[in-house]
Symmetry: C2
Subunit: 325 residues, 2 copies
């Protein structure tokens, strides 16, 4: 039996839009709440402008993260900025009528909670080509907003064929001399509003059915080597380049959840139902880490609110074993 | 074959939080969008302060409605304030590969749309006791925020045992001399934060297991007659009263949807899935009219965004018959 520890009603892992929204609602439900994560405000803070969150006409990404953090704290959620490295079930309580609880670990601390909400989000997917890792932060970047200023009047490329790659290209086009968009498929699938802007931009060149084979350079990015394509069979084009912005999507940060036994889908996203419940009793998920088809800040916030409500109901209806090894 | 009419990609019925959120996203998707409904801003405009919409720390209900209307219009959604009285399927197109479309009617106009999103919300549930209808707006009210000022230093009662009845009572307690809360069950199920405030209020008296049998008065509310209870078996207590605020929940405004053939649950709420789809292809629902367990502004906005996304996908993938009788 471990020492007596303060027990949280709910531990929310993630300090982004979803984590903070859950923190706010759990606070309003008078639950003893911990919100813990690495990145204050979450991945939205790497976004330039957000104009599609219903009810907020226009807001900077950094400012939006700050508002959400404040909203959670306003209703009493405790907040810690550290990396969670493991979540375990505690030993089952001796009284069979009581339900088990969870242990959440960082490298230096442990927290005990009756319920857990995973709002761990995603990270940027890597290209996986030679040179990408070696030249990371030496011309290879995953965030135009963060790094565009380093490439003033330079030539850069954005790799990716979705809406976020279009947004990255538009941000870069404001400062760079030339922006290539390398799209693997034969179509750029951007939101119509962004598609139009890309097509009208004078310094963006979209190259469809184009993939990077290698990022080259000594100490910094100097060129990219393309895979040989239909246009130049057998021959690989090399293009001088100062920066490579990778925007090919995200990977769900679900490793800790998976280890706990939470069910994932084929994209490693946490499976949730309309109640934001996972397959494990007392464990919920919300936001980008979940298996929702259309992921937006608003859908993540909503899932978090729903997770909070069902966690609250679950806490009201059950008794818990308070001992954790 | 009817005359040539302008065809909307999507017609959103309802001008509240959900309707406007759908309008905003459909606009961003470059869809020809009509948002049509009776009450600009929706039922949130009858709320005093909203402090639980993630990302907006505190906002008045009226102001919140205005922001959502503006957000929808900002991205090109057309908006009309009139009551929709019927939605019909148009005659099936002659080309079997094409999909049918819908006709949306007000008392004076008709609109044609390829898809429909129901965001029609709810209305206040009635008590159904003698005197309620007769004294409506003569002391009987369904909105403390709208009418509290008429009852300064008066005695009023709130009927209902949920969170919204607690909020109504708290609003009234600021102005009225005395506020009774009549709760049918043996418990007041308010959010803990509001429960505490009610209990601490000096001029709110909560009466559990108490129901109104009749609202009495000539030309205006003068008293309420309670049903005989355990405390006074056989005898019905009559209490002098200036105002009766009914807060016993809401009824989904799903009549038009039901007539179209949209599947409802046992509470007459529109059944939707995680994609905000109904049982009818091309028909979606979002917000309070849906069968979501925990209904909040944020969940309605999210459902609306999801409905917009799936309507957009559906419109991209299909061809439609353009003729409507």
């Amino acid at each position: 039996m471990g020492e007596s520890k303060s027990i949280y009603d709910v531990i929310i892992i993630g300090t982004g839009i979803a984590g903070c929204s859950a923190g706010m609602y759990c606070g309003r439900f008078n639950l003893k709440t911990l919100v813990i994560g690495e990145l204050p405000g979450g991945i939205i803070t790497t976004t330039h402008l957000v104009e599609n969150y219903p009810g907020i006409l226009s807001i900077g990404g950094v400012e939006m993260g700050e508002v959400f953090l404040k909203h959670a704290q306003q209703f009493g959620a405790e907040m810690k900025f550290s990396k969670v490295i493991d979540v375990q079930r505690c030993a089952p309580p001796k009284d069979a009528k009581k339900l088990g609880i969870f242990k959440v670990k960082t490298s230096s601390e442990e927290f005990i909670g009756k319920t857990v909400i995973f709002a761990t989000g995603t990270e940027h997917k890597k290209l996986g080509v030679p040179g990408e890792k070696e030249l990371n932060a030496k011309g290879v970047s995953y965030c135009a907003l963060c790094d565009a200023a380093f490439f003033k009047e330079k030539t850069v490329c954005v790799v990716g064929g979705g809406d976020s790659s279009a947004i990255e290209a538009l941000i870069l086009a404001q400062q760079c001399k030339k922006v290539y968009m390398f799209v693997r498929k034969d179509v750029l699938r951007a939101e119509p509003i962004n598609y139009k802007k890309v097509m009208e931009s004078k310094n963006i060149e979209v190259r469809l059915k184009t993939e990077i084979a290698e990022v080259r350079g000594t100490g910094k990015v100097e060129s990219v080597l393309l895979k040989s394509g239909a246009a130049t069979p057998g021959k690989q084009e090399e293009i001088s380049m100062d920066g490579v912005f990778v925007a090919i999507g995200h990977v769900a940060l679900s490793g800790i959840a998976e280890k706990l036994g939470v069910a994932l889908d084929e994209h490693k996203q946490i499976k949730i139902n309309r109640n934001s419940e996972t397959n494990i009793l007392g464990v919920y998920a919300a936001g980008d880490v979940g298996d929702t088809a259309f992921k937006q800040a608003i859908t993540g916030a909503s899932e978090a609110v729903i997770a909070s409500y069902f966690a609250y109901q679950y806490l009201q209806k059950n008794e818990f074993g308070y001992y954790c090894e």
